[in-house]
């Protein structure tokens, strides 16, 4: 059957979140159209929606790229998540028992994935905790917002994370749920703020904004001034990663 625009959008997004499509990857319209068995029109629609959601970016006549958030954008994304997620916890008066139960269950699944060493689903699960929280305590709008933000921070982690601290994150989640269970939402909010702060602090935001950063140090700025202005990119370097992996996606 023909995948709808929403299907394509969702498929690409989940592939990105699962780490199967790294940030910076070029997404050719025709390739995707062939892959999904539809015309470019529908692929374009899906890409345009994902662009509105901040997941991909188009570079005129060059193609669609999975966003590579700059260090600034990374900070913005984390700040935004701090604001919204602590705001959510502080707005809530009490946590219904079923919600607590499902959150505990989620944390348990996290721990299991970490112990099992299931790296691929781990990042996904850690992000899912926050989405789950928004869904349980908030509403659909909030969930959508958090989902898109989490998607961005996941991409950021892929770009900048030098060390994976999955175990610590999961422990943080456990503490947050415990505070919620104790009825201390203010403490939960504080823990959430610390947690997101820790994740942000664990990144090396000076590392990979572009692969040229390390080169740039070796050269005089003037050398680049003759060359760089022709690059149309506003902030993120849209150079396709891994040209040596021409068939990383399933084909």
């Amino acid at each position: 059957m023909n995948p709808s625009t929403a299907n394509i959008e969702e498929a690409i997004l989940s592939a990105i979140l699962a780490g199967r499509i790294p940030p910076g990857t070029r997404l050719g319209e025709q390739k995707l159209a062939d892959l999904f068995g539809v015309s470019r029109t529908r692929v374009r629609e899906a890409m345009m929606r994902l662009e509105t959601r901040g997941i991909v970016q188009v570079s005129a006549r060059r193609g669609w790229f999975v966003v590579e958030p700059s260090a600034d954008e990374a900070r913005e994304a984390f700040q935004t998540r701090r604001v919204i997620e602590t705001g959510l916890l502080q707005t809530v008066r009490e946590v219904p028992p079923p919600v607590l139960a499902s959150l505990k269950e989620h944390v348990a699944i996290e721990r299991q994935a970490i112990e099992t060493g299931d790296v691929s689903s781990r990042a996904c699960l850690l992000g899912d905790f926050h989405i789950h929280l928004a869904d349980a305590l908030g509403n659909r709008m909030l969930t959508e917002i958090i989902r898109d933000l989490t998607a961005r921070t996941t991409l950021i982690s892929m770009l900048y994370q030098p060390t994976e601290k999955a175990a610590e994150s999961s422990h943080d989640h456990e503490d947050i749920v415990a505070a919620m269970e104790a009825g201390d939402l203010a403490a939960a909010a504080r823990l959430m703020e610390e947690h997101i702060g820790k994740v942000e602090a664990g990144l090396d935001l000076s590392a990979k904004p572009d692969p040229l950063a390390s080169l740039r140090e070796l050269l005089t700025p003037s050398t680049f001034n003759d060359v760089a202005p022709s690059m149309p990119h506003a902030h993120g370097v849209a150079v396709p990663h891994a040209p040596h992996h021409p068939s990383k996606t399933e084909d």
Copy 2:
């Protein structure tokens, strides 16, 4: 010169927010294409983006409609705004003086518009206060989120607001800024929560979700059960408003 997709998107959005296009209005692709002097393709792109942002909705083969949020969606939108805006105020440590100054100026403009009786720009300004706040205290992402949310609540107000309490809203804004100036961000957050709550409480959410509500009370539900199922609408009634105003937009 040819308006780009972004131009069209922005033009339609601001027309909606200014109240020139009421909720429920049908937006025909061809009409808009002629109006902007482009082909349907670009209009479609713009509409698709606006749909992603929750401003318009497409009903299959019937057309695009400015959303008419249901009472549930209205509550969600206000809850979401409470969460985010109080979260923002509570996350902030201190307010830079220039920010305070510009907020005060904004409130002054609000009061002026209210005193002058400038109804058309009034709603716009009242919403702008919150956008301005997000922009000054937060970041671009937060501002975009707040802007889209404010757009939705503005539409909601158009649908459900029985009485305009612009003066009271502006007074609330003033109080919030005063609390910020006093350095009491917690109080500012509390005032913001009350303010948004008041705006929500000022609506009559049982009133206009659909024009049939008043009729429905007079008739037995079974009468409608034979007729209603053929309606494809999920929640909001997408009947075009005001068929007696065929040329409300400038044409």
